[in-house]
């Protein structure tokens, strides 16, 4: 972070803060299409960008500061392009909101690999805060319906928002597992901890062999034995042999309904 900031020091030194009159003069030139004036306006407001980026980085340490700074600059550029001096505000007042918006948008995008609208994060934060308050006040976790009703949104929306903000980790991320009673710590990746649900080729062959043996065994049954097993376990149809393989109660009711 120090290295990045030092690279900006020269730029800040070369571009002191603008006075109100200078701001207006530059804004007029920018409106007329002067690229140099635009550049000057951007470089003169780097202080604001760095200050805001630092402030947000304090609460979001997991984010890369240089990326946060770049995003803040994008917000500044947007503010420069849209600034209207005739409205009477200082540029820093106007730019501040654009920079904050760019930072918040970046934070929102970085929060999860699932991209969601910006207001979803606000809803999530409100819901989490409300859950904590509810728990401390009433002593139990509120249901999704209660939270949704309090926030004025549908339970489905709340569920979708919460589902979209689940923590996603890389399959190659390291997982540390401690062996009980020992200080030894094993490190392995997430992928190594996931169970392989596919049946191995060897197991498949064993299953096939077992199935074949079972089929051969079934052929040993006499027709009478097979019939009794089928009747006992409901392996019959009423389609062709109603005498030997009777219909079920449901089927009878259906038949009666049709006739009536």
């Amino acid at each position: 972070m120090a290295n990045i900031l030092s690279s900006y020091q020269d730029l800040i030194k070369q571009n002191p803060l603008l006075t109100r009159d200078q701001e207006i003069a530059l804004a007029k030139k920018i409106k007329a299409g002067d690229i140099k004036a635009r550049q000057k306006m951007i470089e003169s407001n780097y202080r604001l960008v760095i200050n805001l980026a630092k402030k947000y980085h304090e609460n979001h340490r997991n984010l890369d500061f240089s990326e946060l700074l770049s995003e803040s600059q994008m917000g500044l550029i947007k503010a420069v392009d849209r600034f209207d001096h005739e409205k009477g505000f200082k540029f820093s007042t106007y730019a501040c909101w654009w920079i904050k918006q760019a930072i918040m948008s970046f934070i929102n995008d970085s929060y999860s690999v699932i991209k969601t609208p910006g207001n979803n994060r606000v809803i999530l934060a409100k819901a989490q805060k409300m859950r904590k308050e509810y728990l401390s006040k009433f002593g139990y976790n509120p249901s999704n319906d209660e939270i949704a009703a309090a926030l004025g949104i549908s339970p489905t929306t709340l569920t979708n928002v919460e589902t979209a903000h689940v923590n996603v980790i890389s399959i190659d991320a390291e997982v540390k597992s401690k062996t009980t009673g020992q200080t030894q710590t094993k490190t392995r990746s997430v992928v190594e901890t996931i169970e392989d649900e596919h049946v191995s080729a060897e197991q498949l062959l064993i299953n096939q062999e077992l199935r074949q043996i079972l089929l051969d065994s079934l052929r040993l049954l006499t027709p009478r034995e097979e019939k009794i097993l089928r009747l006992r376990f409901g392996l019959y149809t009423a389609d062709d042999d109603v005498e030997n393989f009777p219909m079920t109660l449901t089927q009878l009711i259906e038949l009666q309904t049709e006739e009536n």
Binding site: L215, I228, L229, L231, R232, M247, L255
Partner: protein, 101 residues
């Protein structure tokens, strides 16, 4: 319709067709059907035949794996619900195959 009708009542109610619960018949109901088909037996016989069938399958399978189980061991295997379910599942698939042919 009465909820707990006997099989006889149900048969009389509709075209002389035997009616059963979903999923399978009781030993009594099976014995009735078998007797009506000319193979006279009671519920006890039905149960014995069913167990004998499962034991026959268990015996054949164990021999295929080089094992020789006595009567008690075979009976123990035959009455296991897991074993019965597996056999019935394969039998069901086999019946469906036969139907398609």
């Amino acid at each position: 319709m009465k909820k707990n009708m006997t099989i006889q009542e149900l048969r009389d109610a509709k075209k002389n067709v035997s009616v059963v619960n979903e999923g399978g018949l009781s030993y009594n109901e099976i014995s009735e059907i078998m007797t009506r088909g000319g193979d006279k037996m009671n519920h006890s016989n039905v149960r014995a035949i069913m167990l004998k069938s499962f034991m026959k399958i268990a015996d054949h399978m164990s021999k295929e794996y080089g094992l020789s189980h006595d009567y008690n061991k075979l009976l123990e295997i035959a009455i296991k619900p897991d074993f019965q379910e597996s056999v019935i599942e394969i039998l069901d698939q086999e019946i469906n195959k036969r139907k398609k042919k």
